[in-house]
Symmetry: D2
Subunit: 341 residues, 4 copies
Amino acid sequence: MLSFECDYNMGAHPKILEALVKTNMEACQGYGSDIYTERAKEKIRKLCGQEGADVHFLVGGTQTNRIVIDSVLKKYEGVIAATTGHINGHEAGAIEASGHKVLTLPGYDGKLRASDVEKLLSDFYSDRAHEHMVFPGMVYISHPTEYGTLYTLNELTELSELCRHHSLPLYLDGARLGYGLMSCDTDVSLVDIARLCDVFYIGGTKVGALCGEAVVFTHNNAPKHFFTSIKQNGALLAKGRLLGIQFDTLFTDGLYFEISENAIDRAQELKQLFQDKGYTFFKNSPTNQQFIIMSDEKIKELSPIVRFEVWERVDETHCAVRFATSWATEKKDIEALAEIL
Amino acid sequence: MLSFECDYNMGAHPKILEALVKTNMEACQGYGSDIYTERAKEKIRKLCGQEGADVHFLVGGTQTNRIVIDSVLKKYEGVIAATTGHINGHEAGAIEASGHKVLTLPGYDGKLRASDVEKLLSDFYSDRAHEHMVFPGMVYISHPTEYGTLYTLNELTELSELCRHHSLPLYLDGARLGYGLMSCDTDVSLVDIARLCDVFYIGGTKVGALCGEAVVFTHNNAPKHFFTSIKQNGALLAKGRLLGIQFDTLFTDGLYFEISENAIDRAQELKQLFQDKGYTFFKNSPTNQQFIIMSDEKIKELSPIVRFEVWERVDETHCAVRFATSWATEKKDIEALAEIL
Amino acid sequence: MLSFECDYNMGAHPKILEALVKTNMEACQGYGSDIYTERAKEKIRKLCGQEGADVHFLVGGTQTNRIVIDSVLKKYEGVIAATTGHINGHEAGAIEASGHKVLTLPGYDGKLRASDVEKLLSDFYSDRAHEHMVFPGMVYISHPTEYGTLYTLNELTELSELCRHHSLPLYLDGARLGYGLMSCDTDVSLVDIARLCDVFYIGGTKVGALCGEAVVFTHNNAPKHFFTSIKQNGALLAKGRLLGIQFDTLFTDGLYFEISENAIDRAQELKQLFQDKGYTFFKNSPTNQQFIIMSDEKIKELSPIVRFEVWERVDETHCAVRFATSWATEKKDIEALAEIL
Amino acid sequence: MLSFECDYNMGAHPKILEALVKTNMEACQGYGSDIYTERAKEKIRKLCGQEGADVHFLVGGTQTNRIVIDSVLKKYEGVIAATTGHINGHEAGAIEASGHKVLTLPGYDGKLRASDVEKLLSDFYSDRAHEHMVFPGMVYISHPTEYGTLYTLNELTELSELCRHHSLPLYLDGARLGYGLMSCDTDVSLVDIARLCDVFYIGGTKVGALCGEAVVFTHNNAPKHFFTSIKQNGALLAKGRLLGIQFDTLFTDGLYFEISENAIDRAQELKQLFQDKGYTFFKNSPTNQQFIIMSDEKIKELSPIVRFEVWERVDETHCAVRFATSWATEKKDIEALAEIL
């Protein structure tokens, strides 16, 4: 059965498994003090063009969002996010469980607008009762967003400047960062992100790793005793090598970018395919997630032979569906889909 | 360099890596809905002799302790543990960070005594001010303990009966459970534990897995929406297969028990070796961790050639040191150590 | 200077002070075990027509909302509220600090609509990913609302039936309940509220007390060990008599209703006054808070001689302002205002 | 019936009620922005000899401990306290509920020893695994302690110097501070405390107020946005005047000290009385709480005619009982007790 339902349905890129096998019987220090972790951090710092960056490896996306946000915020602060932001809807209240409000603003195809953030800040500080309210303490964006869309360099720069002006850390959730960086339709590089954000993460789970996200505090600004916060939140791996080796592999010889590009190439082919068949799109996504408007009838017809996700209802007889490609999608998968369609 | 510093310094048992490689390009459902996870759960239920058990896979020990304890306790309850319990000292306050007090009792070689628990309960409920205090809501033990010691079946039964009499869930931390079960000096079986405890976990990280702990709610008593609690705590793996495949492998053809036995055999040889050389022991451990009293001089001499952990100072010139064997320790490692000593 | 800025600017109703003075040198048991507290609870149970109600006295509104909501919700649940709800905007994130998300719906003049709640529930449970989301665990409404508006008996009944159908506790914040009950324009009685809600509170702070709110769990449904939760949250008064005596006084000879009526009468006069002067209203409020649209010029002119609150900007040259009457407002205050206007 | 069971069984000092009555119909700004609050703060700053002190009024002791400790600590820090400390046993886990561990040390008649704190710090930082543990972030003491005992100026100075050397805030719980300051057997003044501690509170609830504690951050070191933290914790009174007026009264013409002295004088008489009757003491307390060893028979005999608290069992036939005097105890109460004994 063809599989386009998500980008985390396969195992890991074979080179990662090879590296795990090869290093398996070496005795490594625990808790991320091993040489592979150190090597991976060094590679990431270099690729980011930030020698002073603090890099930490965590296991998954919700965990990363929760720990980063909770560690950066003061207890009386909340985090600004789009209503469609992952932390607002699909993390089971992880942010609130750690004590912080998500302060929502409208999302435009999943993106925050600097002008909205500016208005929120200006409204907040001009409200006489603002000491009775949650202080905005951070801005959360994702790139790509939940809808596969991307910030332009201008948009990101504008947000960054606004945040710096207000001493508000800017945090970028890069669960699918590779697919954003390798999009044909982006002018934002990893170096830009490292320069413009205060903290971000490079997603591994959805880009070829078994698990793992690389958190980058871009200018030596990791919260004090961040290691202990990781431990306290139950996110510290005894065998930290599992993350170190994976990211070391992903950032050797450009593997992360190469496999991300594969997903983009396949997504472009998939997009073309649906266009050629006369489908319209729910969102115009330049990354690995494609949102297609499909009749209920067609959905019913395809479901037994192709896996994809029904996203949301569009009208009485149509839904938006998501087809995702990944590092593992092959040209022949697209060809097989073409035949089916 | 010889490596006895802990039981999580190697990668995973080769059969686990083989299974990961073999299944790598199969598309699996996410979040633990894959067939490997289901298969592993079924095997564990059978081995426990509890068809109605709820099994969940988590990533690490502190995470497991935090989520299980927080999910079982009411907000006004705390967890009873030995002062030496892992949750009390070495989890960076994870239990308190989730809102609960650790109510400490003395540990005897790391073990709780039922009579102490009974006295705590009786003192608590006879205190007129007990509604101003933290309610005891759970009993936490570990088996093996921090000192490698084990509860006897009598001791465990006594604790279990006391807990059931008081409707107090009994939780057993089995980070090193395999090494406890395969000890030459135990009368406690997995079936006993599943029968006597309300919840426990079977440690994977320290017994041959890359990561992973199998939580068993023994009688269909998992807290409501435990899945969502896992997600909220950032502990849900998108690629749940990583845990399912590992535990499926560990519980195929008795691998978990076989590799645990190896650690015990090596530990016995190591113990004999130190005894033969005239060393005395800080604790009499029947499992894979051996605590030896060693002169500072000897420690200094050995440190450059053998890895082990200095545990605590015993007197002006001696410390207790820990040598740990594991699933990966080979007979030749012990022989090499013999030569060095 | 005339004072209409809020309903908590004066001390307490003189009868309350009299009662405090009269009982002052009696030795009372602490923590709410005194006879005045017991007597007040009994009176409230009777007035509510619910013999089985659990009544607890807390100190202030935010405290009450936080403790009630946190005690009723499971850790994976959130509370549904209007975006304009007090808990969502003006309690400094108290709900989130206790670990729970506020799930917002549009407010219509501050009121929730049953149909919106129903849609939220139906969307939630039909979402395949709902186990990754915050479970709706309670409905929060206020009566009067932030805008002084009131639910009709029909609206409240509809919400109540919906909540009971879904086993969702309905919680009514009655910080200004007296002013709602005595409005000329309501068909909702205290008995109705006690019958239709699962928990609500009768506000004292804004209705003549120095401090204090009476929480009513209407059908013997107080969360287990609620006393200990109050203590844990730092809300337990050693001299519980301070609350007991106040509520005993307020509910003796209908004082609470009498002084609430005074506020309503004054508010009606005030409303008439502004109408007569040709002002329009931002909200049509039948209670003690009146929202008037006023030119910036007029605001500037009045500010040095009358205290009132500027609520929000309406257009370039006008704002909505709030004039509040209270138990303490006198007829001559309205007359003085008339003269000024 | 004679009443010696606690120091919070009466209402408030009559002068406080007078002040409440006198100011009752003045319109005051809410949330502590009134002139009485400002005046009380100014008086406290003066009496403390710290012009730069930040003073805040909270409602009760547990609330104060929870908010102060939680606001000062980082999320990875805990608070050092004696095992007998109020926060460790009798606050229903309020500190842990806010996320922090209480790190216990032995109490000597309720007092912490600087040498024990020093050892804890030295052990902590020399432990290689200390990043896996809760960081000591604050020292909590009470003065008087739970046993009515007092720190000497030397002891307090030693603790203070140690804390400052380690940049560890020193926090003094002064729930019964007046009784400590006016003890015949103390060399510690309010100025000393303000000089040696980083934060402390002056108890009102147990020293003549209806409720209220005055928190003093001694050197302009209140945590940022402490007001918002108070609000978030549900501890902000709308009618802040209730606290301001009480403390303004207590610190006018030395009332706080005068009524504290009364309690001490009565306690001395009570102590003498028991000594004369041949009783021995459980603790040698120089303050208003006296701990007497009494036979079960005598306890049974006295209970119907005198209120006192049975503290703890001493042997098979005797208990320690507590007799407390207060600002309200009269000479005739002691005389009546003498007659009974």
